[in-house]
């Protein structure tokens, strides 16, 4: 029996984690163990990583090896079914609130692309333009425009067009999708949704009735043009852990309307350049590395704004070593440096004081620049026609190949 979060999660002393707000206790770090405990999901341990490697016959993604994707719900069921020859489909999404995407935004997409390639399964990507229209008070046209712009960056992550369907809520909601929304909505009381999401009497009804929109892509019958006749198909949702509330609600409802519960695989939050306690915000360009940053920008931002755990003087540093717990360059390398051996070496040398902050930053700048460059080149190859094709309601006959 799964824990379902009933009380309002916004208690003063605790950290706050929900789809619209993430803050640690007393300006400290997010306690992920507490979070897993509170949400009731499971830790993703090494045995899973090994199993994925065996099943997919390729090295596991760097995010799995480094514990970036660290929690799950029912991932083992997905793997069991896969071993028996039963495929699944992937579902992830983005709330297009701004044009400027930073590396943190790309993380779930990079991981999802790996999952698509490794397991050879189809993917649906939801752009919640309606959500942003409601929460960020954007005009309908603006949120639709942002959705298309974001779609280009998402496509640039390398998804296979013959296995991927991207849709925006404003375009797609209706038909079978809407029928499922109503089925879900009927199963969630007003009190329940207030409990899960913290709505108040002042919030408009758009917000209150939004959760089913994000819930129903977990059900294959929402996509009759893709999964017609495959009502039994399971769904795996890679997302950041702050999205968990939506899917806790979905998992609660699913068996009541005769569907499989969607499985989840969840990631840590990507820290801001200024440190774990800092907030990555779209209004502070120096809090994150954007996909539009030039090599010069990246160099500047890392050198001037990255919070480090190095000591104040070289002598002290050689003596005491760096504080790896708070060092942002090390954390970023943990996310993005592919080579496990090299990362270990850097951590050891830096922690012991043999390597200086400047050297670690230099390596980070190289790694980030390569990623951003590659993304930019791929982005340049995405045309409006390609976005139209990805977003067209069309059959995907080869989606399991």
């Amino acid at each position: 029996m799964e824990k379902v979060e009933d009380q309002n999660p916004q208690q003063e002393e605790d950290q706050v984690v929900n789809p619209w707000e993430v803050s640690a206790k007393d300006g400290g770090k997010i306690d992920y163990d507490k979070l897993i405990d509170k949400f009731g999901c499971q830790r993703l341990d090494q045995s899973f990583v090994d199993r994925v490697q065996r099943l997919t016959s390729r090295p596991p993604h760097v995010f799995l090896r480094r514990g970036v994707f660290f929690a799950h719900r029912d991932f083992n069921d997905i793997l069991d079914a896969y071993e028996r020859g039963q495929k699944f489909y992937l579902y992830t999404g983005r709330g297009p609130s701004s044009e400027a995407l930073h590396l943190g935004h790309l993380i779930p997409f990079m991981f999802t692309k790996y999952l698509q390639d490794a397991f050879k399964v189809p993917l649906v990507i939801q752009l919640t333009d309606d959500e942003k229209c409601m929460w960020k008070n954007l005009s309908v046209e603006e949120s639709q425009r942002l959705a298309r712009e974001n779609a280009k960056d998402i496509i640039a992550c390398g998804f296979d067009i013959s296995k991927t369907f991207i849709f925006s809520d404003f375009d797609y909601v209706g038909g079978a999708f809407y029928k499922n929304m109503v089925k879900v909505a009927k199963c969630v009381t007003y009190n329940k949704v207030v409990g899960i999401f913290g709505f108040t009497g002042e919030d408009h009804i758009g917000k209150v009735s939004f959760p089913p929109v994000q819930a129903v892509p977990s059900f294959p019958s929402s996509f009759p043009h893709l999964f017609s006749g495959k009502d039994d198909l399971r769904c795996l949702i890679p997302c950041a852990i702050d999205q968990d509330p939506y899917f806790r609600m979905t998992r609660d409802v699913a068996p009541r309307i005769g569907y499989h519960k969607p499985a989840l695989i969840e990631s840590l939050f990507f820290p801001a350049l200024q440190g774990e306690t800092g907030k990555m915000s779209a209004s502070d360009p120096n809090s994150a590395i954007y996909v539009t940053d030039s090599a010069k920008d990246i160099k500047y931002k890392v050198n001037k704004h990255a919070f480090t755990g190095g000591q104040e003087t070289i002598e002290k540093h050689r003596q005491y070593g760096a504080n790896l717990e708070v060092d942002i360059p090390i954390k970023y390398l943990n996310f993005f440096l592919e080579d496990d051996v090299e990362l270990e070496h850097i951590k050891k040398a830096y922690g012991a004081g043999r390597m200086l902050t400047g050297e670690v930053k230099k390596r980070l700048i190289e790694v980030l620049t390569e990623i951003v460059e590659r993304h930019r080149r791929a982005r340049a190859a995405v045309t409006d026609e390609m976005v139209d094709a990805f977003m067209a309601v069309r059959p995907l006959p080869n989606m399991f190949d």
Binding site: G158, D160, D284, T292, A381, T383, E385, D388
Partner: protein
């Protein structure tokens, strides 16, 4: 729609533009062209296809005798001293839709060239007839500057004739006199070589001496100015060209592989691995390039699929 030579000639006739046409073997240079049409009474033209550092394109069409100084032109356009260079071969096909040696003002009839700026030598106006290629180099057509104007106006272009040999000073108090001829707007076209990610509609407003990214910390949104897509990536590889040309695709793959291969073979590595160097290098190449090449292949696949999708959605069923 890509215009053919015959369609162009038909268009000229429709517009009642007087011209003479001369067929000859394919020529790639003005000298070669002169051998066949040098004596027909028209003035030969030389046509340059240029691009600037911000990937904007220009066709400069001049009398064969006019001296065109690229440095001066670059300054007059407000691009600084070395801002102009010859556009790469691929651009001829992609943007102007003409073969090598066939740059001509008539190429601007193609949609893909709608953002290309046209600079015409004022010397054309004093000639009775001028000679250009009509979209292919096995023919030359001779027509009056008025005729050329009429054609350009019919495709929505305002013909601008300039004194290409002039060298006015450009400085603080003397703005570049040809700055208005620099293409504006950052519209992204499907066949464009280097596409800049479409940022918001502030577009790009080139003016003499403007730099796109200033790295001063700004409290507002991150820099929306069009980023200079660098010609050399971190790996020293040419930037990606969105196309479904299998040949180009394979060249790109081979380029990357051979670059890596060459870097792996050094005196040092030969000493270290001796006879085993082959296996070692092969392994490294696979390891390093696997993901990169897969990504390139996915982009190729997506682009080809998109072309098919577009064709399919614009398919006109057979009339029964």
């Amino acid at each position: 729609m890509v215009y053919s030579k015959d369609q162009l000639l038909a268009r000229l006739k429709e517009l009642q533009i007087d011209f003479s046409q001369y067929e000859h073997p394919v020529v790639l240079t003005v000298e070669a062209q002169a051998k066949y049409v040098g004596n027909v009474g028209g003035a030969l033209s030389k046509n340059l296809f240029l691009k600037d550092k911000k990937h904007r394109y220009y066709v400069v069409s001049a009398l064969a005798d006019t001296k065109v100084d690229m440095k001066v032109l670059s300054q007059r356009l407000g691009l600084g001293k070395g801002g102009l260079r010859m556009a790469p071969e691929e651009a001829l096909g992609e943007i102007l839709k003409v073969p090598l040696g066939c740059v001509t003002p008539f190429a601007l009839v193609n949609e893909s060239a709608s953002h290309v700026s046209l600079l015409l030598d004022k010397g054309f106006k004093t000639q009775e007839c001028c000679i250009f290629h009509p979209l292919s180099n096995d023919m030359s057509i001779s027509l009056n500057a008025f005729g050329l104007d009429k054609f350009l106006k019919s495709i929505g272009r305002d013909p601008t004739y300039i004194d290409l040999e002039a060298n006015p000073p450009v400085g603080k108090d003397q703005p570049p006199d040809l700055a208005s001829l620099v293409p504006s707007g950052s519209t992204v076209l499907p066949d464009l070589l280097e596409k800049t990610p479409s940022q918001d509609s502030s577009g790009n407003h080139p003016s003499a001496g403007n730099n796109s990214t200033a790295v001063t910390a700004k409290a507002d949104k991150p820099s929306n100015a069009v980023q200079n897509v660098k010609e050399k990536s971190v790996n020293g590889v040419r930037p990606l060209i969105p196309s479904t040309d299998a040949g180009k695709f394979v060249e790109e793959l081979l380029d990357r592989t051979s670059t890596l291969l060459l870097s792996e073979i050094s005196e040092d590595s030969i000493k270290r691995h001796g006879g085993q160097l082959g296996a070692e290098v092969a392994n490294n190449i696979k390891k390093c390039l696997r993901e990169d090449l897969k990504n390139l292949a996915t982009i190729f696949k997506n682009t080809a699929y998109t072309e098919g999708f577009y064709a399919g959605t614009h398919y006109q069923p057979k009339r029964l």
